[in-house]
């Protein structure tokens, strides 16, 4: 390709990357590692150490892990079924899953709030049926539910895509070589779908770990996640330095989880073939 043309084509992306990714990152690192006067300090990072914040961080980790695992367990079988279906039916079902994503995510979470409230829709129905009522609003369970509901499509679609890409003849080859359905799944289908599983996990785990909207609406002010803690630093306390410092700590956790996933991805081939 012509060199001049390249610059013209690449240019906008480079500008975009600089303006909206690199510069904000640098600013967070800067605020996170300095105090109000601009002098270097670790104190913003160490702010994470308070019991209240540690509790929020651990709760966030637990809830987002839980949501990720449940999303995976729900999405994988569904994706497997979808990948075996005729294209028309698949289009219909994936559309049903995607339509909620066209709605504002705040709205979706608000809907759950109305559903789960002490005198919300679900409890009214349960009451009419003379069944015990469900009091999970403002508990971690409600938050987990919201996360699963909100992020399930992000798990489903990458896994479905990965499964869809597997050549049927590769699966047939496994049968042909004597593998039964169970062996074919664990030795061929599952490892080949791994890239989808990895990106699904990342796309659920990361937003779940950093969310503050879901916990705001479904946790009331009773359950604080690390996202809420950071948000408060920016919007209520107005201390950008501490907010940025806490964000950096969270980013380290995300980075570690991604590295683990990558390692696992590389490993999986060897692991499953020696099964």
């Amino acid at each position: 390709m012509n060199k001049k043309l390249r610059i013209w084509l690449d240019g906008p992306y480079l500008i975009w990357t600089a303006a909206f990714i690199i510069i904000p990152l640098i600013m967070i690192v800067y605020y996170g590692l300095t105090d109000k006067t601009g002098a270097f300090t670790w104190s913003n990072i160490l702010e994470m150490g308070t019991p209240e914040r540690m509790k929020a961080l651990i709760l966030s980790l637990i809830l987002s892990l839980m949501a990720t695992v449940i999303c995976l367990l729900m999405a994988y079988p569904l994706a497997l079924i979808l990948s075996r279906m005729k294209t028309g039916a698949v289009g219909f079902i994936t559309t049903i899953f995607i339509i909620p994503m066209w709605m504002n995510s705040l709205l979706r979470i608000l809907a759950w709030q109305t559903l789960l409230e002490r005198n919300g829709v679900i409890n009214q129905i349960l009451g009419m049926l003379n069944l015990p009522k469900l009091y999970i609003i403002n508990t971690p369970y409600a938050i987990a539910l919201g996360m699963i509901y909100d992020f399930l499509p992000f798990m489903l679609l990458p896994i479905y895509n990965a499964l869809q890409k597997i050549d049927v003849n590769v699966i047939n080859a496994a049968y042909d070589l004597g593998a039964n359905r169970f062996q074919t799944f664990w030795k061929v289908i599952f490892p080949l779908s791994m890239p989808g599983v990895i990106s699904g996990i990342t796309m659920v785990f990361v937003p779940a770990l950093t969310t503050f909207v879901i916990s705001d609406f479904l946790g009331g002010s009773k359950v604080l996640l690390i996202g809420n803690v950071i948000e408060q630093q920016f919007t209520q306390v107005g201390n950008w330095n501490v907010g940025s410092g806490l964000s950096l700590v969270l980013m380290v956790f995300i980075l570690i989880s991604m590295l683990v996933m990558q390692h696992y991805d590389k490993d999986i081939g060897e692991r499953t073939t020696s099964l």
Partner: protein, 380 residues
């Protein structure tokens, strides 16, 4: 060659109401190299998938070694498939690919290691154990797919256009490799291709298929020299196929000219199809504007009638040099005859053209579409 190893009986298969295989009958003998040959979409892969167990026929039975395996699962069949696009496991190394079937059958690691080495040697890819499939060329992937299949010591290897994606040179090399491999292993090969040259080179038996029907079964020589119908003649190599009338035994009239031939038993004054291979047409040049009574012309005439009492006069309308020979078109009686010759004739040359009686192939005209496609198992 000995007994029937596989017997396909009355196999019928339809997809969404359209019939893909119609009452197919075919048997395969032990140690045979049998090729299914036919145009795209004629049902070759479907036949192979039925053999492999990936498809169940709507009607009919598959007998393997005297046992009905029509509805036996693929993983329980004593045959292995080399798929149309290799279908290697991309998340495994070459060695793991080859070991797949052996690990499933719980062979010892020592046995597996020996087998991998043996198989890689057989396909000329020693030292490729730790490579991944996507780091291999098409030809190498192909050979790994074959290695992966043969380590399981199948009685039958099914190969679906295994050389389809390779370039000409590599394809020819691989053809020899496959024949060598088959002889070394002493197993039955069922091979699918739509390349007639490949089929003629490699097979013991060729099954020519069209639209789900078997058109002809025979040795490569049979198929080439004695095509049963116009479809086979046309599909196997370039041919001149023309309408003609069988006057009586050993005499056929083509475009009003009576030719001697060797075929008998077609009746009298019967419309037939005639096939003449381009390399069988013989040409003699006559100088232009030459008087028919001239000595020159009479000499040419004597020469051509020694080949066959019947002959055409024509004009060379086109010539291409093809390396080993010239490919020409000769305009005669309103038909463009394809002629292959090592001698060259300028475009515009007037020629006398004839053919040895032995090289005229007479075929019955199909009476209906069904007959056109009739199964010809009996003739083997």
């Amino acid at each position: 060659m000995s007994n029937k190893l596989i017997d396909l009986q009355n196999i019928t298969k339809a997809f969404d109401g359209s019939i893909v295989l119609d009452d197919l009958n075919l048997y395969i003998r032990e140690n045979e190299f049998l090729t299914l040959l036919g145009p795209s979409g004629c049902g070759k892969t479907t036949t192979l998938r039925i053999l492999g167990g990936f498809e169940t026929p709507d009607k009919g039975r598959v007998i393997f070694d005297g046992r009905d395996i029509t509805s036996l699962a693929p993983n329980k069949r004593q045959l292995n498939t080399v798929f149309q696009k290799y279908a290697l496991f991309s998340h495994m190394t070459v060695a793991e690919n080859i070991a797949f079937g052996l690990r499933i059958r719980k062979k010892s690691e020592d046995y597996i290691r020996d087998k991998i080495r043996y198989a890689l040697k057989l396909v000329n890819l020693e030292g490729f154990e730790e490579r991944t499939p996507d780091s291999l060329s098409g030809g190498q992937q192909q050979r790994i797919a074959i290695a992966r299949a043969i380590v399981n010591e199948p009685k039958v290897l099914l190969l679906d256009e295994p050389l389809g994606a390779l370039d000409l040179k590599l394809r020819q090399d691989m053809q020899y490799e496959l024949i060598r491999l088959k002889n070394e292993l002493g197993i039955t090969f069922i091979y699918v291709t739509h390349d007639q040259e490949e089929a003629l080179t490699m097979s013991d038996t060729i099954v020519v298929m069209n639209q789900g029907y078997i058109q002809q079964i025979g040795t490569p020589e049979d198929i080439y020299n004695e095509p049963q119908n116009a479809f086979v003649a046309d599909f196997i190599g370039d041919s001149n196929i023309v309408n003609a009338t069988m006057i009586h035994d050993q005499l056929v009239e083509i475009f009003g000219v009576k030719y001697a031939c060797v075929d008998t038993g077609f009746g009298t004054d019967k419309p037939v199809d005639v096939v003449i291979r381009p390399e069988d047409l013989e040409l003699i040049a006559v100088p232009e504007n030459e008087d028919q009574s001239s000595e020159e012309y009479q000499k040419a005439l004597r020469k051509i009638t020694r080949i066959n009492p019947g002959y055409f006069e024509g004009t060379v309308s086109h010539i291409i040099f093809k390396g080993m020979h010239y490919e020409m078109e000769v305009q005669a009686h309103g038909f463009e005859w394809l002629v292959l010759s090592t001698r060259m004739f300028q475009v515009g040359t007037k020629v006398l053209m004839s053919v040895d009686p032995y090289n005229i192939q007479i075929m019955n005209k199909p009476e209906s579409e069904d007959e056109k496609a009739v199964s010809m198992q009996e003739i083997v």
